[in-house]
């Protein structure tokens, strides 16, 4: 899973006064853990991790989705790839 961008961490803390790094890290750990479990073999374990994670998010970071969306839009706009470099020369053009 993509790591949490430090700017998104900062934005989450700004949007949720009192939010601690420990809570964010716990949510991150629960998220990372779910992807280490085979979903076809242990779906109930994934569901348990998801419940705990969502409980923490709902309690401490109710605006998580909107903050993350705004952050993602900013990052995407800042990293648009440059257009390809193309040079065109007419064959009858003088050098």
């Amino acid at each position: 899973m993509e790591p949490l961008h430090p700017e998104l961490r900062r934005a989450l803390k700004e949007a949720h006064p009192g939010l601690t790094d420990e809570t964010i890290d716990r949510v991150e750990e629960l998220r990372a853990r779910r992807f280490e479990i085979d979903p076809s073999a242990h779906p109930e374990e994934i569901a348990r991790l998801d419940r705990e994670r969502m409980q923490l998010i709902n309690q401490h970071m109710p605006h998580y989705a909107s903050v993350a969306q705004a952050f993602a839009a900013t990052i995407a706009a800042a990293h648009r790839p440059p257009p390809p470099v193309v040079t065109i020369k007419r064959k009858d053009a003088k050098p």
Partner: protein, 469 residues
Amino acid sequence: MATSTGLVQQVNLFDGGACVYVGPAPTSAEVLIVRFDAVDSTSTLGFKRAMLGLLVRAQVAGYSVSLNHGDADSVITSVETVPANISPIGLAIHGDFYTVSGADIPNDATLVFDSAALTVTVTPDVVRPQFVFVAQLPSSIPLGRNTVHLQGAGWATDAVPIDVSDGPRTTVRTLFSGDPKSEPYGIDFVANPAIARADGSGFYADPALTDRPGFQGAVRFCLDNILRSTEDVLRQSNMDAHVRFVAVFDATVAVSDSSALASEDPPNIIETRRDKLNDFMGGYFERPDVVYVLTGSTTFTRASAWFTTDDANRPGTAFTYDGVNRTHGLFQSTPGSAAVPTSATGLTAFHEFGHAASDFNDGMVVDLYVDGLGAGFVVNKKARAKSTDPVPANFATYQGTTYASDPNRDSLGYPNTWTSYHPQLIDPTRPNMMDNYWLATNPANPRTCRLDRLTYAWYSDRLRAKIFR
């Protein structure tokens, strides 16, 4: 015996044979003939017809031929095509992907399209020694017959004829064919048709299928990320020259359970539905080892990956890790997969590959930016009993070689509550690419992050086993 070489300018059929004009231009061509004689055996006639068929195809396609004939006559006795040292992969279509394969292509190579009126030079998006790749063929290249060649400083390839069209763009595009065998190691990129709602209430269309330029840009990002970042685990010894790369964009696919290759994971994670991938890709006659599911979601924008499940019923390559015998399965029963937004940046595509290409049962490569360790065999993370215990000097023994631990998590440092620890980094000045690469400094470029020494060795063997299976 004499040999005449050049383009086939004209083929004129007559009773009992054909006149073939060969040379650099219609006005400076030699005239040779294919003659069907009454005394020719069935097999000789068949051979001559095949020669004539080849000459007609060479004329239409614009390829050079070498014709052998007698010293004192013009009767063609055999035909050879003149091989070029590059090969365009697939049709040249405005706005579509375009790849040209070759050998020892330098980093500064450009694509040069020559037509009667224009010379158009295009800087490729990705250059590797075995191919150059353009995410969208520029529409400034004239339609119809062009030649294309590659050139760099003091270097140029042969020019080969191509016909440029303005569409339609392809549904399944082979970007590079990899090894010529039935099951080459494959990495596919698919525009996700539909997303499954997290609450199980159904599916909805993924915006990826209405943004083809966005999809093609994301494929460019992924290829560049995995093949041209500082970490070379996939491209070392030119291993990637044996890997098949395919892109699938099928705007005709309807929203359904079977076409929803990604699922919401609130509040912002997108994940693949790994159990759907083999059936879906099989519909295009592909069975990749790793699938990038590219999504246009603007709500679920955080990438994730599921490990591969190797096929335990097919051959494998044995290895030992901390004295335990294990196996790199050579084939997948469920492919590794990554759900990646088309807006992804940084080292995201390569980081997710780092998860996806590892295996649920015989070696997971996990995230290093969180503490804790779940069940199962993890390659790149271990845990101490207590956070106050010192990090052991040695991390693990792999294939008889002992690999050191990273006692300090180098540039980042282990939080004092953590029990987990990592193997020694290749480059201690920046985070592991499986750690938080956004924290890279000097330069602040996530793409300079590398793996640790142990995971690099493990992945080198695993990828080599699979790629050369």
